[in-house]
Symmetry: D2
């Protein structure tokens, strides 16, 4: 299968179950909501070392937020409800509650709810007040800028981490140009984020290492500079491989993001140095979610 001259490998991305929530952060102006969201979702590329994977889903106009102010929708993913609860408490406390004029709301309501404002309310030192509107509880915490309003809980849902595809290009310049277009296009897909810096991973890994203290290491079969030295998966022309990792709320969202992203990359095509699209998996034995590239792109 080829699109615009770019070969699509007959393979699949293998992804894993995670737990996720969506937060809605608002502020007096869009700039401050965005500042809060960027701080909250920083250092959140890989759940193992960062405690969560997080990113901005999209910006929200005043008409789309609970308090009629400009806002941002953020998705946070962790391995368990417990881990997600812990990350919510620390990160929302440090990055959103500290932001001038911010407020924080649940972006998902469901059967299972995690504490959001519940532990943060103690920052009010007894001066906090709760309010129930339409059956939902909110905390009003007096702070120096005025009041930090925070919904008591936020919903948690089963989700998917580690959806991905690989872009093999003649040069890093060409790979980056195509991946930038893919990340831009994927912003229009609801329910997904690309948690790595700029949405792209430049140093994809394999499980394990020759060093026993390392649980993951460089995926040498996909390293262009090692082509002569190790068993390589790369053809002669491939000079750079970039990976786009996608976390999403369900299989449909991850599928749609992969489709949108790969199509955007393939608009560049063979002529712009995009040789091949592939995907990362572990032989299908570890992750229950399989995203077959050719099926998705049909």
């Amino acid at each position: 299968m080829r699109i615009n001259g770019t070969e699509i490998d007959d393979t699949f991305a293998e992804a894993f179950p995670m737990r996720a929530t969506r937060l809605i952060i608002t502020a007096l102006t869009a700039k401050w909501a965005l500042d809060a969201a960027n701080s909250l979702t920083g250092f959140a590329t890989s759940v193992i070392a960062c405690g969560c994977e997080a990113g901005i889903e999209r910006r929200l106009s005043p008409r789309e937020t609970p308090d009629g102010r400009p806002g941002v929708a953020v998705l946070m993913f962790a391995m368990s409800k417990k881990q997600l609860e812990e990350q919510l408490r620390v990160r929302v406390g440090q990055c959103v509650m500290t932001t001038a004029t911010s407020a924080c709301f649940a972006g998902i309501h469901g059967d299972t709810m995690l504490p959001l404002g519940k532990p943060l309310r103690y920052f009010g030192d007894g001066h906090q007040i709760s309010k129930i509107i339409d059956g939902r509880r909110y905390w009003r915490i007096p702070v120096m800028h005025g009041e930090f309003l925070c919904e008591e809980t936020t919903g948690v849902v089963p989700a998917i981490g580690g959806g991905n595809f690989l872009v093999m290009a003649d040069t890093a310049r060409q790979g980056l140009a195509a991946c930038e277009a893919a990340v831009t296009a994927m912003r229009s897909v609801p329910g997904v984020i690309a948690p790595f810096p700029g949405g792209v991973v430049g140093s994809g890994s394999k499980v394990g290492s020759k060093y026993k203290f390392m649980i993951a290491s460089t995926n040498q079969a996909f390293c262009p500079t090692l082509k002569g030295h190790v068993k390589s998966e790369l053809g002669a022309d491939v000079g750079s491989v970039l990976e786009i990792v996608i976390d999403g709320l369900d299989e449909a969202a991850v599928s749609r993001a992969i489709r949108t992203g790969v199509r955007a990359v393939c608009k560049f095509g063979r002529r712009c140095g995009i040789q091949r699209i592939s995907a990362g998996n572990y032989g299908g034995k570890l992750g229950p979610h399989h995203f077959h590239l050719r099926k998705i792109l049909r």
Copy 2:
């Protein structure tokens, strides 16, 4: 003392010793260097809960970087060399090494050096190569995008955390407008960062709480909505208090940042709702660095 009608309190900011390093991150284009830096310095507002305080010092033109590519200078602060070393390993590994086309260099060289590329080199799974140029060692780690180049160590220096000033305004809108101008102006001061979202804290805290499990809580004497209920430090007109926290490499840098920031705020002045400038301290008993506002502004 008044500037443009705004009262300058006769008080001082009390700040604490920290340890700091500067990193220089480069990439193929300025966008990707910035993406790496934003990820690295996210969730880094307060050292107690985040492990470090970090921020972008400034952007660097290709002429200012070791490899002639566009870059970003980042400052990271922690309580000890050990904590800073740990944060460097995890954050640079997760946020910079993963960024497509990035490289990472020491931005300070001195007597005391901390490991930078030293532990990250094992990601190369034996394929990494070291190179010594002008007496400094660099690691070339093969990755999917090509090669991640990382200096072996980076210098650590004594530094200062918690420099600050408070902006008391009629309204949050007015306080924010003035603080935005202050943060912009302070970007021209070398050797400092403002680690909170957008450079401003909306929820300044005091030590301790009525809840024993809380080590800090809202500073109620500066909360406008509590004026009638607690002993308040705020006059009748003050409707919002914002704090700018500054971490810097030495006393001169922090002083200059406070002076630059306060002057930018006072250009708005009483007529634009900026009533008063103050600063946070603990009576001078805890932190060895004192920044007297009126002395700095003279």
Copy 3:
């Protein structure tokens, strides 16, 4: 009538008939479509001296454009069909056809159409080709980047120029902050533009002058620095007056833009230095369109 402490004058904006068209400009990426639109709508603040008034209505996603590429919708206003036709020919030729990878489409189709690609096709020096799709004719003009695609004609409709409101503030800083918020809010209103730099006029004029060669001059009754010297319309507190001028496709659009803009300004209110909102008119004798502030805001 007061909103948030700001007085709303019992007056009206007086506006004039113009002719307008909408163009849709697309390009390979959103950046290039925007570059073309910014060039096209530059030096287009006042129809008398610039030949037209023009501005960006909004950005368009690939799903909203005829050729599935990112785009920008632009509105252009002139005093007559003839003037608009001339401005289209020169400005689209110089600013859109010259932009790398651009294409240009009609954004309005109706009974009366003006030449768009029709005169530009001759640039092809005989190599241009026409194509009819769904009854509309397009010109494919070979150029160095590849091909400039341009619809043959674009619709012209009766429209309104000179809708406006005045923001009277304690200081220029406060007026600007409120007007920036107004211009941002007005971007969500379809069918309107604010043609002056940044959407705001700092030097509103009156008709006539003591100098016979000047057809317009400073509106001294609204100049804060002349309060002691001339008959002034300004109270003691007003230190700066800013005007937002609005051109729109019909009365409903202009009304909605004024309402949206004034409301955004009044969120700042008296406390942030916004004293009074007024509007510019000529006693109602010149322009047939009257926009009564209090009626619109009710």
Copy 4:
């Protein structure tokens, strides 16, 4: 001669004498100075149809401007002093004087000065005041935002228009990526602008046409879609040609801009689809300034 695999043609750019001035525009914040500059330099791509060629030279920090506010340096080029004088009067009056909180200063002082604030002062309707500081006259014109300050005259100098180079790429995507990098790099060269949208021309022209009423038309020898139909200058692989046109204050500045731009393009090189660099000339008979590519790049 090849750089990074890209062929450098043994040819030269042919450029023409123009007259130029530099203006310094300041405002309360950098945003408003930039808004004024963007309006002033819009619709100014080609002197024949637009009356002048203009662009932003660079942003200025408060330390670099006459009034200590943030600013922008703008270059304007015309065919004669008379044409430049006329463009200054109309464009500064419509685009800078109308911008809220703006001021406008001469950016060049020399033997020959053109009127700047001199004709604009009449807008003050008799309320304008002149002031002489250090031998230079300034006009203070009362306006609604406060006061528009404008230097009486600005210097005019001999200058050069039409410096250029051509980028021949496999695809428009590749050409654009390289040209974007070139335009960014050229921003660091003082004394030059690239007057077309985004700095790039997608539809370069030749003199004359088969239609007698056209003075210029598409340069068919460089149109990739006409390769089979006309005598072409393009090899089989070239799918897109982009031109960067440069106006500058002297030969040294234009040379340096061409060198900086071509080098940035050649970093992409043959592997990223950049086949060839050439330049536009008329056989050397028309324009007195010749910029030989290979000499410049040596």
